[in-house]
């Protein structure tokens, strides 16, 4: 699998929470060669399954979400669009290209609404002072872009240097690429357990996708693969790990301790670089939902370091992606020992 190309393809697709179809279709194409079945459940989750050779071998769920942070058109003003967003820092928006999820899709640019010089020049324009400019008249805007229209970043992914990929929606498409790569690494090997790959919907909003997905698939164990904070000059050191330092293995109450320790042991044994991510409370990932599915599921987070989360320039390292995939594939094969 060409990891860079896979990242580019998934980054380009649109999948705001609740409208993940575009991203799901692209993800399904990526995963299809490595699993037996690819289906979609009632919530829109993508489910890829490869079963074990034995019956009743147990089930391992691998989760990565397919939705992305997005904006929502809330009103029209002189042909410009007012909008709302959760999880987006308004300071990165002025001058940003965006894609409207209309039929057909439409491009726009975020502008700062002029305010006749009343504003404090030091103060960053808040969301309510930003507008999306699609070059429309008020009439056109009202008819072509109804209130409620979803909007995603319009940036194209690109490579920086030899192994750093930058683009929108790397959170969490880069982790879906990891899962597809895991299944590729395992493709010629017999599986000790059923492996279900869940491309879950709506993680950025309520995590309802993971909740329903886990219920339907009845896993015993789950690895939740999401992004976490990679170091940058303006981030607190304690909250981050360097880009390129390998998978971040979760440690904390939500994590099943045996799984976490097994992952660490495997990383050492296979000489895969890794760090520990201390998650002392809610993880803020789908692990929180999957842990409490049905009778309870043993879960562990494996996180991919990512810079500039929730911006149009989310940045990941190709080596980190490969290392995450190798670690998870090693974990899958290690379940053979537990089975016998």
């Amino acid at each position: 699998m060409d990891l860079k190309q896979a990242l580019f393809t998934l980054s380009r697709s649109a999948g705001p929470s609740g409208m993940e179809r575009g991203a799901c279709d692209a993800a399904a194409e990526l995963l299809r060669p490595y699993v037996r079945t690819v289906t979609r459940d009632v919530m829109g989750n993508l489910v890829g399954i490869r079963t074990a050779q034995r019956r009743n071998a147990g089930c391992l769920l691998l989760d990565a979400h397919l939705d992305e942070v997005s904006m929502l058109v809330s009103d029209h003003e002189d042909g410009m669009l007012k909008f709302q967003a959760i999880g987006i820092d308004p300071r990165i928006l002025p001058g940003q290209s965006v894609r409207l999820c209309t039929q057909p899709p439409m491009m726009g640019v975020v502008r700062i609404k002029d305010s006749k010089g009343e504003e404090d020049p030091e103060k960053a324009p808040a969301m309510d002072r930003l507008r999306i400019d699609c070059g429309l008249t008020q009439e056109q805007a009202v008819s072509l872009v109804p209130v409620g229209t979803r909007v995603v970043y319009g940036t194209e992914p690109f490579l920086m240097g030899e192994k750093t990929v930058c683009g929108k929606s790397m959170d969490d498409r880069a982790c879906f690429v990891i899962l597809a790569r895991v299944m590729e690494l395992l493709q010629d090997k017999p599986l000790p357990v059923d492996v279900c790959v869940l491309g879950s919907v709506q993680e950025e909003y309520t995590a309802v996708g993971a909740s329903v997905g886990a219920y339907n698939l009845l896993p015993d164990r789950a690895i939740v693969v999401d992004v976490s904070f990679a170091a940058s000059p303006d981030s607190p050191k304690a909250a981050t790990k360097p880009l390129g330092s390998g998978p971040m293995i979760g440690v904390g109450p939500v994590m099943n301790r045996a799984m976490s320790e097994k992952l660490q042991a495997l990383a050492k044994q296979k000489q895969i670089p890794y760090t520990l991510e201390i998650l002392s409370d809610y993880t803020g990932t789908n692990a929180d939902e999957i842990q409490i599915s049905r009778e309870g599921v043993a879960v562990c987070c494996v996180s991919l370091p990512l810079r500039y989360m929730h911006t149009p320039i989310e940045t990941v390292d190709l080596d980190d992606i490969e290392h995450c995939a190798q670690l998870i594939a090693a974990y899958v094969l290690s379940l053979e020992e537990d089975a016998t």
Binding site: G117, G135, F158, P233, P242, G244, I313
Partner: protein
């Protein structure tokens, strides 16, 4: 015109590093010019004979530069610190892609995730000294090899067409003027004309001084961009909008424009039925700063293009306005013989 404009806006040209723009323009203008030269400042000066020779020397000017940045420090972990060049506006920097140096090394202006920010931070425009560029380097050495100190950078945005008329791009205020001048130079001209494509407008019209001193113009028409909507210092000034026609300027921070020339422009607009918008104020200078007071003085007028968010990676203008600017400039040249023959 549309293609010329898109090509010009796509070129790399922060103030002090306009080489790519100059080289491209020179390539286009070489076969059209009666005389072409690059002066010590880096201005591209082009003379083209017209049907008539006027007693007065006529100059049309536009600038080649755009806001950008310059790398001033490389940190141990490979991140770059920079200084803004040409009044780059900090409100547009975070989260944007930039190109660095003539080889176009891609980089990004990072910003920590919203999860790690406070409400106060989100309400404050970051200062350039707090911002940094990520080029994907993992060490100082790796970054230095890619991007040595002193490397220039500018926005990396691809031009975007919002509709048949509205074009979004970086560098529009200067390059739209360059596009108009280039398209004019492709035509037969009514009078002998100098074209100046100047450097370093955005750091005080540095190029315009030398260009005017060499050409010694008596009459100058200066092309520039005007911010749409915003009237920062004069709340009562009319709001300019793309698509409502070119701007005929009367005054701004740098100059009061010659009334006979503005009247001439208005006359052309009325005759050709081209709508125009009055430019009664703007906070920043035009090239008149350097041209109007050159030598014994020069009558100067400004023809403007209204641009939404002119300093952003995707400012927006109307292609119809650009074409109308060209038509007005053409009419302006044609009328000079009657008035200044």
């Amino acid at each position: 015109m549309r293609q010329t404009l898109k090509t010009l806006c796509g070129l790399f040209g922060p103030s002090g590093c306009e080489d790519a723009v100059r080289a491209w323009l020179r390539g286009q203008l070489e076969p059209l010019a009666d005389q072409i030269l690059e002066d010590p400042a880096g201005n591209l000066l082009v003379y083209k004979k017209g049907a008539k020779h006027l007693r007065h020397t006529v100059l049309l000017s536009a600038y080649m530069d755009e806001p950008g940045l310059i790398v001033r420090e490389i940190e141990d972990d490979g991140f770059l610190r920079f200084a803004p060049v040409g009044s780059a506006d900090c409100r547009y920097l975070p989260g944007k892609k930039v190109l660095l140096g003539s080889s176009g090394i891609p980089g990004i202006l990072g910003m920590k995730p919203i999860h790690l920010t406070s409400k106060e931070e989100r309400q404050t425009i970051p200062k350039t000294k707090e911002l940094y560029i990520d080029v994907g380097a993992r060490s100082k050495e790796e970054a230095e090899k890619l991007v040595p100190l002193g490397t220039y950078g500018c926005f990396a945005s691809e031009p975007l067409e919002l509709s048949d008329q509205l074009l979004c791009a970086k560098a529009l205020p200067g390059r739209a003027g360059c596009a108009v001048l280039l398209e004019l130079a492709k035509q037969a001209l009514p009078v002998d004309t100098w074209f100046a494509f100047t450097v370093q407008h955005r750091i005080g019209s540095k190029g315009a001084f030398g260009a005017a001193f060499r050409i010694k113009p008596d009459l100058a028409l200066i092309l520039d961009g005007y911010p749409a909507g915003v009237c920062p210092d004069k709340a009562n000034a009319p709001c300019l909008q793309p698509g409502s026609g070119p701007v005929i300027a009367y005054m701004d921070h740098s100059a009061l424009y010659d009334r006979s020339l503005t009247a001439l422009l208005e006359g052309v607009a009325r005759e050709k039925e081209i709508p125009f918008q009055p430019g009664v104020w703007r906070r920043t200078d035009t090239e008149a700063r350097g041209i109007q007071r050159s030598l014994g003085g020069c009558k100067a007028a400004v023809l403007g293009l209204t641009v939404r968010d002119p300093d952003s990676p995707l400012g927006c203008c109307s292609v119809a306005d650009v074409l109308a600017m060209k038509s007005l400039a053409e009419g302006f040249l044609a009328k000079l013989e009657d008035n200044y023959g």
